[in-house]
Symmetry: C2
Subunit: 302 residues, 2 copies
Amino acid sequence: MTDLAEDFRRTTAPYRRAVDEALDRYTSSFIRGNGSEVPERLRAAIRYSLLAPGKRLRPLLVLLATEACGGEWRRAMPAACAVEMIHAYSLIHDDLPAMDDDALRRGRPTCHIEFDEATAILAGDALIPLAFELLASELTPPEMAAACCLDLARAAGCRSLVGGQMDDLLAEGQARSLEDLEHIHRRKTGALLRVSLRLGGRVAGAGLDELAALDHYGTSLGLAFQITDDLLDCCGTRAELGKEPHKDAAHGKLTYPRLLGIEGSRRRAAVLVEEACRVVEPLGDRAELLRRLARFVVQRNH
Amino acid sequence: MTDLAEDFRRTTAPYRRAVDEALDRYTSSFIRGNGSEVPERLRAAIRYSLLAPGKRLRPLLVLLATEACGGEWRRAMPAACAVEMIHAYSLIHDDLPAMDDDALRRGRPTCHIEFDEATAILAGDALIPLAFELLASELTPPEMAAACCLDLARAAGCRSLVGGQMDDLLAEGQARSLEDLEHIHRRKTGALLRVSLRLGGRVAGAGLDELAALDHYGTSLGLAFQITDDLLDCCGTRAELGKEPHKDAAHGKLTYPRLLGIEGSRRRAAVLVEEACRVVEPLGDRAELLRRLARFVVQRNH
């Protein structure tokens, strides 16, 4: 790992620890509910996937966006956890046999392997309303809660996350253009990254200019993130990734390295990162961690 | 069909027609979004399942509850459609091979048969956030939208709808008690019926007493509904049901007829319906259609 990446990890450790604690807390009590009412197997599957070690990139974006807009990051924790729940659900369902059919995720058996397919479908299904429950019950005032529910619903829906996954499945094996590829990724991974920033901004009471800057940052970051993902799949090892590499090529998927070459992909990621950093300049020093995060994203090795 | 049922159908036809029109409208434009951004196959699968001919029982409960509490039923249309979206998603996922493995639903091929398994999973996944998008964008004031999001999230979540489905899968083939059975149904079907009434009440600005009466009505109606479902599965024909009968027995499922006998089940359903009608007496004439709906539910033949 580079010094930059190590340094970023150290600086953001308190945020990530707080996210892990909050995720644990919300899925122990299931928010004001009596935990005993949730079937134990379902709760175990939800926690297995949601609390699995991870980068917590999306929650971090929520919290850092709140900070960048002058808010107290701890207030944004419900939104941070809600976004991670949507992310976790999408991974569980994407891994299913009928979808990407993956047996490993973050170095551990995927949810349907560790439990079974029915339980994995239900755990994913349960995480979606849980995210909205969190936003609607923990964010105040209600105007802000409703606005956050609407943003998250759009980002998780058929025009964004689910639509992108559908496109991705339909596009497999078909040679297509860079434009198609970016369209898929903007929806499949980009929308959730962008809404993370937007929710963080909303919690801080950000104005339209700030929300627009966060949105632009999120778009560039999202594409840079995807390019890095593609590069890792094509050049990484099983030990680094915690899953099988070369799955994209095996599935005949369109990727950045296939379209732009390895060096061309690296260059494009670097340009996008600099763009992301530039657009949050007006937010000043408070956005410093967002800039460091963007540089970290393209240097990660898993 | 009995005269009572025929009469009820005729009276409520305008409500059901308005629901069908609204469901069609919301999934044509996908709420303020540009319809063209939704992958066509995904939109087709969503519409195939959501717009399939059906009783529209849950939307009807929303609209009639609004009316029973003195509100204008058309104002509750977003909530009515949101509940139907959650119901449709749960049917799509319940029918999947890894779950109940059903090939027929309402006399037509189930979603994963008509399309494919991946598309069916994604169509279900997309309907959940779409329901919240509808509530958060179409209901005002925002306090009410947030309260409705919270209610629906709880009813669709791991303590209710999904938890009940998990229990149901785990309970298959195990002899258990009436108490267990009612616990499963209270969650699996009851929670969504109850929240339909609650959302309808909220749109009308119902007070706590009215919400409590609606809740009690919903609990009794939900159990009566389930008993009738079990009776239809055990005594109905394929033509009446639009799906294979005797699936419960084939799966070794615990049912009311198995526990109480056919006559005992009918008697229990009748008692529950009378209870439902009694608890909404304080709402007066405005609740007349709710009372007729309860009597209709146990007399239906599909």
